[in-house]
Symmetry: C2
């Protein structure tokens, strides 16, 4: 019998949600690092910054003035990647040159008027207001006939391309279903057709039995490091109930998501005692007026840091040209995250 | 009739080689940037660095000593992500937990003993020796029964996760065919089955007629910005002849690839007058003993810089969770690159 095991041997794992593989090299975390070291984002920010285009009352890059908002504030992105009034059109020249017009709406959500806060430092009640906005935007944007997918996300930290440290997230909604949700939809639909249960529902059930990759739980959500994770401390929030989209959330579920969002990001901040950068975002059913019983609400967190506050994992040569590769196993990461204090390091 | 056009309107383009889409937002390059600014890699390096583990005669991280090499030098990666002696094995638990052992060999190729050089600063004859090594390694590694794919790549610049500025590339060879070549193989095979010509052969023919995305040509290769490019200054080297893999290269073709490699990287360095970072790599037919008439040799260049020597494009939130997005069109990038001097800025 083979003595192959996931703790010691290089292997690949299948991502059941996308149909793609990830390479895991558990032994490789030991290599030395002489490469790029990140600047840590300056930690001390004032509650109000007169030069910030997201602070209340200030002028934005596009020239408009922000209102004197007290909790959250949503506006149309002044430099939207997608526009509402793009003319429809298709340019096809054989199989090799295919382009089509893409309409959409891009918005920015300020999470708080406080320039110096981040999600892990906000109150759960305040975060719940962010979830409220997500819900109403999902409904409102999704109701437009030319919007078939609403992508809600947050880039946190300059290392994740975030161009302003004021706590904020984004929504890019589009007429086509983007690549990643399209892949997930295909896998989920196939699973649902075969089993009449959602893929993530069954996956969550198994993970709750195994326990080794579970990070946090509350009544309505579970956070875990996915079996097929590629980023060193990647995680996924899955709803216990097979909710398809934010529009179906009860008030209690919204509050529970806020609670999980805070607890997970506190955990992250505590890992290297630094404001932990990540890109996070929600995957949910498209707003294309189809039923989508296969879709199961979840949120991905992709944080780049690997060894310390300043050394990140680079998804470069091999990852771009071949297959994503990770140096520690999902199980090791989960264990490490679980062992951390639940109190934010700044409050200790 | 619709006045939709690719120069002014947000649109998506189909990548015929992978089957995935890219979002193009031509108008968005105008937005202001307050985000992360990269440190430019220090330009002045000594020809020999006593602390560099890739310089001739020095001790490596693994404890071995480099020989006093005069041109190229290949060795097994001291921190290989893939190992030769991994026990075979498969761990499957239903559809959702699937892992399999992965065997492979990882190598490092020093391009030159000179610590202070990079490909654009080397002589074509010296670069041809790098191509020689690629060819012999492709053959040697590919001949092993447990190696079915040989991924040759280069990470250049600390911003691309390169951990040592000494000019070098890598080869990671594996028993399974990685994600990206697997996708390309599927698209190429389907095209070949329908037309009995390679996808890239036909694509190259059209591009040579259109001319707008062509960057450089020589007798055996053409460099262009692919129609579906996602990185701001992405490019692709395609062989004129439908060569399947490096093993089939003639001496003349090897020299021609060296010439193209140099001219393209000179062009890149001249864009912002800085040593231009990128990840580059070769896609070619697997070494799985199948015929693969569908495969057409090519090399991808993925450079991250966007606006200047210090501001890069971040593939983050929307890109990770939805679809890759670019701010300038492939045509604009090609025009800009084509307009540059062909003499390296350091030599002017
Ligand atoms: O092998 P290196 O140069 O130490 O490492 C670099 O290239 C590898 C292959 O693309 C990546 O997995 C690493 O994240 C990157 O830092
Ligand atoms: O919209 P921002 O914050 O200016 O820009 C950031 O997020 C976008 C969406 O993920 C990316 O396309 C940009 O590369 C990144 O810098």
């Amino acid at each position: 019998m083979s003595d192959f095991n996931l703790t010691d041997h290089p292997h690949r794992r299948y991502n059941a949600l996308t149909g793609e593989w990830a390479l895991v090299s558990p032994h490789r975390a030991k290599r030395p690092w002489q490469g790029q070291v990140e600047k840590i984002q300056e930690e001390k920010r004032p509650p109000y910054d007169p030069t910030c285009y997201l602070c209340a009352g200030n002028e934005r890059a596009g020239g408009e003035k922000n209102p004197d908002y007290q909790s959250t504030y949503v506006f149309r992105n002044d430099f939207s990647a997608l526009l509402e009034d793009t003319p429809e059109g298709l340019l096809e020249e054989g199989e090799l040159f295919r382009a089509e017009s893409e309409r959409g709406v891009c918005k920015v959500i300020c999470f708080s008027p406080r320039h110096d806060l981040t999600i892990p430092e906000m109150e759960v009640g305040e975060i719940a207001k962010v979830v409220d906005v997500w819900q109403s935007e999902y409904k409102e944007l999704g109701a437009k006939d030319f919007i078939n997918y609403v992508q809600i996300f947050e880039n946190k930290g300059s290392v994740m391309g975030c161009s302003n440290p004021h706590p904020h997230g984004q929504i890019w909604s589009s007429s086509s279903i983007p690549n990643e949700p399209a892949k997930e939809q295909m896998a989920q639909l196939q699973y649902y057709n075969n089993h009449r249960r959602t893929l993530l529902g069954d996956y969550l059930k198994s993970e709750l039995e195994k326990k080794e990759r579970i990070l946090i739980e509350n009544e309505h959500f579970v956070v875990l490091v996915p079996y097929w994770a590629i980023w060193p401390f990647e995680s996924m929030v899955i709803s216990r109930r097979a909710i398809q989209h934010l529009g179906q959330f009860t008030s209690e579920e919204k509050m529970a998501l806020a609670d999980i969002y805070k607890r997970l990001t506190v955990m992250y901040d505590n890992l290297f005692e630094v404001s932990f950068p990540y890109s996070a975002g929600i995957h949910q059913s498209p707003t294309d007026d189809e039923p989508h019983p296969e879709w199961h609400f979840h949120m991905h967190f992709y944080p780049p840091l690997l060894r310390s506050a300043t050394v990140k994992k680079f998804m470069v040569g091999y990852e771009m040209l071949a297959t994503p590769q990770r140096d520690i196993t999902a199980e090791t990461s989960a264990e490490r995250l679980r062992s951390l204090s639940t109190v934010h390091y700044k409050q200790r």
